[in-house]
């Protein structure tokens, strides 16, 4: 076998007649942090459950550490799993929660103690060991849940939306902690989430999923800047990418109302021949204002409609050829609704999609 930590080959899963996953392939390198990202119902959690062995697959194979584990029990797969609802055993103390799997496996007492102590040290839950889960806060519970995966001393960690039950502040704290944990342990981690910020901040590679199919598998930078299709472009990024409908003729993009935008700097995947119905996507932060805008390949005089100060930066709404467009500018810039302004961007940094196939051109 190859040196992939986790390999999924031609995996399919049906619930009755409903096809949840179809012919899915995924190779994950040793020590890689991979995020499965998608809206609810896209099959990301299902895929994780298949890898864990909690769901029987309909077809295909799963390899973990070079071993075919398709028919193995979850405990024999060399995985640890962390759930959204923590899933701590409510009647056991933290210590017994951590050691449950080891006790079930019949491990020696001093080895159990050593591992629990190590996990408690890494996650800083030492003072909580004698408490019951009800006496813990959400963040502490999730730490214990991570600890339960940690003591198993496995190669692959599976996270099923571990931060979704936490409030915003704790979520960002624990996010950093998971990243730190990954840097320290260097385990393979597979992380399911619907939160794009978690995906972009944590992942080595992101797999964007829709309807049981991986749309794009790439590093966060590529996913963000070069989405392969309209779906990925729209799903990633907040506020959303601005989408302009129009026609592409060679390297010239003409919006439906006739605004001409040059795409000379754009790197096409393949040469486009003849006029094609297309959509030009531009990230809000790639649109600039004022003097800078004049220097851009495309610039336009517009009227600002709404201004949303976000603290760190300011979002402004306007229109290009009838399309609503948002752009992000420095919060120090004095900008008011109703004001005239010049905005500009380089279509070369944007994305152009075919209307017909919705794929990147």
């Amino acid at each position: 076998m190859t040196q992939h930590s986790v390999s999924i080959r031609d995996l399919s899963l049906n619930f009755g007649n409903v096809k949840v996953l179809e012919h899915l392939d995924l190779d994950i390198a040793q020590g890689e942090f991979i995020v499965l990202l998608g809206p609810s119902g896209c099959g990301k959690s299902t895929l994780l459950n298949c890898i864990a062995g909690l769901l029987d697959v309909s077809d295909g194979q799963i390899f973990i550490g070079g071993r075919n584990v398709t028919w193995e029990e979850p405990k024999d797969r060399g995985i640890g799993m962390v759930f959204q609802s923590y899933a701590l055993y409510p009647q056991m103390t933290v210590e017994r929660n951590l050691s449950f799997g080891l006790r079930v496996a019949g491990m020696k007492k001093d080895e159990i103690d050593k591992r629990v102590a190590r996990a408690a040290e890494i996650l800083q839950i030492g003072p909580l060991l004698q408490r019951k889960p009800v006496e813990l806060s959400g963040g502490q519970r999730q730490r214990v849940a991570i600890g339960r995966a940690l003591v198993r001393d496995v190669d692959v960690f599976l996270f099923d939306e571990p931060l979704s039950n936490l409030d915003a502040k704790l979520r960002s704290d624990l996010r950093v902690e998971i990243k730190r944990l990954h840097q320290r342990l260097k385990n393979t981690m597979i992380y399911v989430t619907h939160d794009q910020i978690e995906a972009l901040t944590l992942a080595d590679r992101i797999a964007v999923m829709k309807n049981g199919v991986i749309q794009q598998l790439s590093d966060p930078h590529t996913i963000y800047n070069k989405p392969v299709n309209l779906y990925v472009a729209g799903f990633i990024g907040s506020p959303q990418m601005n989408m302009l409908n129009g026609t592409l003729n060679g390297t010239t993009f003409t919006t439906d109302d006739g605004t001409v935008i040059s795409a000379v700097n754009y790197q096409f995947m393949a040469p486009v021949s003849g006029p094609t119905k297309a959509i030009l996507g531009v990230r809000p932060e790639h649109i600039v204002l004022g003097e800078e805008a004049r220097a851009m390949p495309f610039s336009l005089d517009v009227e600002i409609e709404i201004v949303e100060p976000m603290g760190s930066d300011t979002l402004a709404w306007t229109k290009i050829g009838g399309h609503p467009v948002t752009f992000r500018c420095n919060s120090d810039v004095d900008i008011k609704s109703g004001q005239k302004a010049v905005i500009g961007f380089d279509a070369g940094r944007g994305s152009i999609f075919s209307v017909e196939t919705t794929n990147r051109l």
Binding site: N49, S85, A87, Y89, G101, V104, A145, R152
Partner: protein, 307 residues
Amino acid sequence: MTSEALSPSKLGASGAVEPRGAKPKKLTIARVGVYAFLVIAALFFLMPLWVMVVTSLKGLPEIRLGHLFNLPAEVTFEPWLKAWDTACTGRDCNGLKPGFMNSLKITLLSVPVSIVVAMINGYALSFWKYKGSDLLFGILIFGAFVPYQVVIYPLIIGLSKVGLFATLPGIVIVHTIFGMPILTLLFRNFFASLPPELFKAARVDGAGFWQIFFQIMLPMSVPIAIVAVILQTTGIWNDFLFGTVFAGRENMPMTVQLNNIVTTTTGVREYNVNMAATILTAAVPLAVYFISGKWFVRGIAAGAVKG
């Protein structure tokens, strides 16, 4: 707005009291009516108990006077002792005592056996789903609606074929079978209300069917188990039909014996003894309800309605 409107005066512009702070509680006529109805209803349903208690404490001459609701002029515990110790059921004159012991035996054996079986059923049906498990559950629930009379004859034949008819194990088996549908439903719904991740986490931790059951599920199901104990204890203690048919003469439960005492028609009708015997028989389920009322309501609300 004028400063007057903001003044802390209790009187508003219209002269009415300005609403402020907690809303005052008013006793309306409707409310009084509701309370009166409840009190009357409670008294009405307590009446038989009152009659039973006072009658059981009276001597026979006083009962013949016919003042049903009066307190006893002379309190006597003789009827109670007789009901317990020497009242005649057919030919035997040992009172309710042997029946009490029989009921105790039947209940103490049937309750744990039926609950353990139903608990494992419910656990397996909610977590270890297999092909046809939902169908099986459906059939089991359907069993709750089968009239007992339909099954009694086949059960008699079946039990006598294996030599268990009219024995203690026989009656325990019967109670276990008839308790299964409702108890399995109770436990299945309880387990179905637990987060499925708990089960998944235990699977990943390597626990098997019994380890998950004993170490994780069993400690969590104490409240619902208490409900099951209450349901089964009262149900089995109050049972008359199965006791008559399946227990056999040796194991006649208290209810059957009570019936025999009350319907024995030789000599004078000893109303005071009958009343005392009835109260004695009802004492166990009554005590169970009084002690566990809170648990009972909580468990029914948590287990049976949900899911």
